[in-house]
Amino acid sequence: MFRDAPHFDVRDYLRKEMMPHFLCPGCGHGMALRALLWAIHELNIDRDKLAVVSGIGCAGRLSAYIDANTFHTTHGRPLAYATGLALARPDLHVVVITGDGDCLAIGGNHLIHACRRNLKLTCLMLNNEIYGMTGGQVSPTTSETRLTTTTPHGNSEPNFDACALATAAGAGFVGREVTRHVPKLKELIKAGLQHPGFAFVEVVSDCTEVYGRKNDMGSSAEMVMRQKSEMRPSAYRDSVDEPFRSTDLPTGILAQNNRPEYGAALRAAAAARAGK
């Protein structure tokens, strides 16, 4: 049986009054939530000072389960809400939870600019390749040819590599991990939470109910196991010469830099002007 570090009990971090939760059995979002809470636990982040801002979707619903200051905002906009909150309250630790549709479709512009701006926020994008909450419509991350309720003949749009996008847009920290190995995911989220600027963490999640079923991807266990064959750690990937490189999505920390953090830079500029 899978065992947590002895001192971590996820129940200590959940709102008991919200149980039972609404996630479908086998939904990868549950594991992502567990990894986030575990990371928060290990970093000993004060939950009175922890603000979790989420968008709309199954991923967006997760904030309500976390015993902290939680904000369930509008579809696609959690990064923009979080920007205001973090600028107004630099003493808070602000975490954003968003889905692939929330973050890359309706909220794509906010993601690009949050990466560029580099305000201290940790953005967890749960990528299940589908619009789960609205019943399984195609998303910007749905693989080509896959069936969804709005691509009855198979998806014919190429999908997005969110991490490549975030890297290109200048995010200070970019990483991707699968839910198959929760401790590893927890470590990546921890690294993201500790990064002093904008951290983008893509969690490869799975939607068993409205995606897996439609595409005959098997049980939730099978969907999670599939992540192994489709994901390669970036170190492994980079060790292979170009023509032989796997086309699969790399995992691990994919980019990291120490550009100046936006909020601090803004406050310093204001202080310098006020001093004059």
Partner: protein, 387 residues
């Protein structure tokens, strides 16, 4: 309301100020500490000025990637406990609507300035218009109440900006300031001192954390707000919710909560309602107008009176909720009402709804020019001679 933070205004030195400049100054004097915006004519001077003034006042200015983001950031900053403002014009205001509705539903105080331009679509950026009267009231989806203030001069923009922040904090609700391009961009000599604004401070949650329910209202129907960091660890959502803040679709709960949103504004009507009635006591024709049209109408009233016509002016400063009782009072002796406005007939429709027993005529200009006092005087005199 908590103990008002009485603010002693600076000495009343007269300055040449545009309406937009007066708005920026009003925001600073009201204690605004956060502005997020996206440039759009004819509102941009507010952002430009605040980009200098806010950091100097210990606040934050940010130009976001679009109006949706700007509105979201303003709500986010206010959720953190900071008085927040955004300013825009028609197309940007349309984009803000979903998040304005969120602020209304989740009860997050904030102030939104809409300097109107003609439309539809990009319309006439540098021309005056008054065509967003309904958009301010009904622009977001679903049922929700809204406070909209419609000042008519630079001085009044200053006062109403401060009042907008006060009402937002007092009622835990978004407040919209609505004015037109002429007032926004013309400079007037303004003496800013002289009035002591109320300066409402937000009612924060206090007391035992276990017993606290974020949407359990006090007697004034406004619930104390949880400040992140104070240990209340609550949930805020745009979904219908119970007093706990958690989503609920229980018919009785959602009905009661939405009803309270309307009732809390009713409860504060004496502070919200503001209007001006000029020579209405004996008026046979009452002109009802806002903004630049009301200023032209004021001149028209004098011109008509000089010719012996009994004409008055009713100017709602609070546009929504409409000061209906005051309108009834001001039009008690009127046989006809004239509504001059820079649109196809928005304010007229509302006046017709309220004064169904009276003849209501509109004077509507959609050419992008302001209505002149002479045009209004001619219509008013004609109406007065007919009734």
């Amino acid at each position: 309301m908590n103990a008002p933070d009485r603010h002693v205004p600076k000495a009343a030195a007269a300055k040449l100020l545009s309406g937009n400049a007066a708005c920026a100054q009003g925001a600073i004097d009201a204690g605004c500490k956060f502005f997020a915006g996206y440039p759009i004519t004819p509102s941009s001077e507010i952002a430009e000025r605040l980009s200098t003034m806010l950091p100097a006042a210990g606040g934050v200015f940010i130009q976001m990637e679009d109006e949706i983001a700007a509105m979201a950031a303003v709500v986010g900053a206010s959720m953190g406990g900071v008085k927040s403002l955004t300013a825009t014009s028609g197309p940007g205001f349309s984009l803000k609507q979903e998040n304005i509705g969120y602020a209304a539903g989740a009860e997050i105080p904030c102030v939104i300035v809409n300097v109107m331009r003609g439309g539809p679509s990009t319309g006439m950026p540098t021309r005056p218009s008054q065509a967003d009267i309904f958009q301010t009231r009904y622009g977001s989806h679903g049922d929700y109440p809204m406070i909209v203030l419609a000042p008519a001069s630079a001085r009044e923009i200053y006062d109403e900006t401060i009042r907008a922040f006060d009402l937002a904090e007092l009622c835990r609700t978004p407040v919209i300031l609505l004015y037109d391009q002429v007032i926004a961009q013309s400079s007037e000599t303004v003496a800013l001192g002289g009035r002591v604004p109320v300066h409402a401070t937000r009612k924060w949650a206090s007391g035992p954390r276990e017993a606290y329910k974020p949407y359990a209202a006090d007697a004034d129907l406004v619930p104390p707000m949880p400040r992140p960091g104070d240990g209340y660890r609550t949930h805020t959502t745009g979904l219908t919710h119970s007093e706990t803040g958690f989503p609920s679709q229980d018919p009785e709960t959602v009905t009661r909560n939405l009803g309270r949103l309307y009732a809390k504004l009713d409860r504060h009507r004496d502070l919200i309602d503001s209007y001006e009635a000029v020579r209405c006591e004996d008026a046979e024709v009452v002109i009802v107008a806002i903004g630049i049209s009301a200023r032209a109408a004021r001149r028209a009233v004098d011109a008509c009176r000089a010719e012996g016509y009994k004409v008055g002016l009713f100017r709602p400063v609070t546009l929504w909720p409409f000061p209906e009782i005051a309108l009834r009072e001001a039009t008690r002796n009127a046989k006809a009402i004239l509504v001059p406005e820079l649109n196809i007939g928005q304010l007229r429709l509302e006046i017709e709804r309220q004064l169904r027993d009276r003849r209501v005529e509109g004077l509507h200009l959609i050419s992008g020019e302001p209505i002149t006092p002479a045009q209004i005087a001619a219509s008013a005199a004609k109406l007065a001679s007919e009734v």
